[in-house]
């Protein structure tokens, strides 16, 4: 019996199954609540998995042997964002100027305000450098933090939190600002909340999702180029 239980606690299969099941529960809850902003499947699923890991005393590293098999699909999914973009290609030309102006300015504001706020609230230099790249998608943000002396392991956490803010609060804040243009909404969500914001945008409207994906890609690029510059200036 204990051999079977050990297998269950440590097998990657268990943790793939649990992740899918928890995500399924998250989707169910989102649909049940009529798409309540707090009911983001990723948020609910991660909470459930964390609770279970704590309850059965399993380490994150053990969980990740299964989780990794799901995690690696993030790469192909990023490539797949070309498809919604392709479907919206006819909008691209008219959006060229907004893209070329809004995204670089947005990236500078994101990086600069992150560094200055952390400093004002008593965070040390390492924390400033760790929060700075959080608007870029996780793998890029980790790479940047590595280069400039932030804490790579924490960057992943901050990026995820920035993503969750976008999924949970983003559309509501945009409504309050009376931003109704789906292209502008998508650009904004992708620029500050990368893939997680994009998945919320895709769920809300196809045009919004396509522009969020585009914005996420360009912001990743801009953030990697601008973080060293902004850090040096501040």
């Amino acid at each position: 019996m204990s051999v079977a239980l050990d297998y269950l606690r440590t097998s990657p299969l268990t943790w793939i199954f649990v992740t899918l099941l928890a995500y399924r529960a998250g989707v169910w809850l989102r649909d049940r609540t009529g798409g309540h902003p707090l009911a983001q499947p990723v948020f609910i699923a991660a909470g459930l998995v964390m609770a279970l890991l704590a309850a059965v005393d399993v380490e994150y590293e053990t969980y990740m042997e299964g989780g990794l098999l799901i995690h690696v699909l993030l790469g192909p999914a990023t490539v797949a964002l070309a498809v919604p973009l392709h479907r919206q290609a006819h909008h691209l030309k008219e959006m060229l100027v907004p893209l070329l102006v809004a995204l670089p300015v947005g990236a500078i504001v994101s990086i600069g305000s992150a560094v200055l706020t952390v400093r004002a609230l008593g965070g040390d230099r390492a924390l400033e450098l760790t929060v700075a790249p959080k608007s870029a998608t996780t793998p890029v943000a980790i790479g940047i933090a590595d280069q400039i002396g932030g804490v790579p392991a924490l960057v992943a956490v901050f990026t995820m939190l920035a993503g969750l803010l976008g999924a949970v609060l983003g559309p509501g804040l945009l409504d309050r600002l009376r931003i109704r243009d789906h292209r502008a909404r998508g650009l904004a969500l992708g620029a500050v909340s990368h893939g997680v914001g994009t998945s919320r945008a895709l769920h809300d409207h196809p045009t919004e999702g396509a522009f969020a994906g585009l914005s996420m890609g360009l912001t990743a690029l801009l953030t990697s180029l601008l973080v060293p510059v902004v850090i040096a200036l501040l």
Partner: protein, 125 residues
Amino acid sequence: MINGALWVLGCQLVGEVVARWLDLPVPGPVLGMVLLFGVLSVRRPGQQSGTLRVADGLLRHLQLLFVPVTVGIMVHAGTIRQEWLPVTGGLVLSWAAGLVTVAGLATLLVRRRGAADESLSGESS
């Protein structure tokens, strides 16, 4: 479907290799996205093409793919609890500042362009 998966993975593979080869600060999958966009623009596949179906399948459940990284928050709960004020303040304020900047600027520029187009068409009529 296999052809679709080959296109998607192939673009990522080329992106990853190019990023490392040229030592670019851009991640491979983002280059792959640009590449696949180029491929789609040239090949113009129909709605039933495998590439489109594979991509739609991956994107329908994009949030699932973020679950493992998010669970990693538990490892850093201690640091976050200790530095909760600068962490929360920095994240929330700069996130909101970025969102408002991009949404505001984009809306302004789209409207301006729309107005310019209207005045142009007004002159010609």
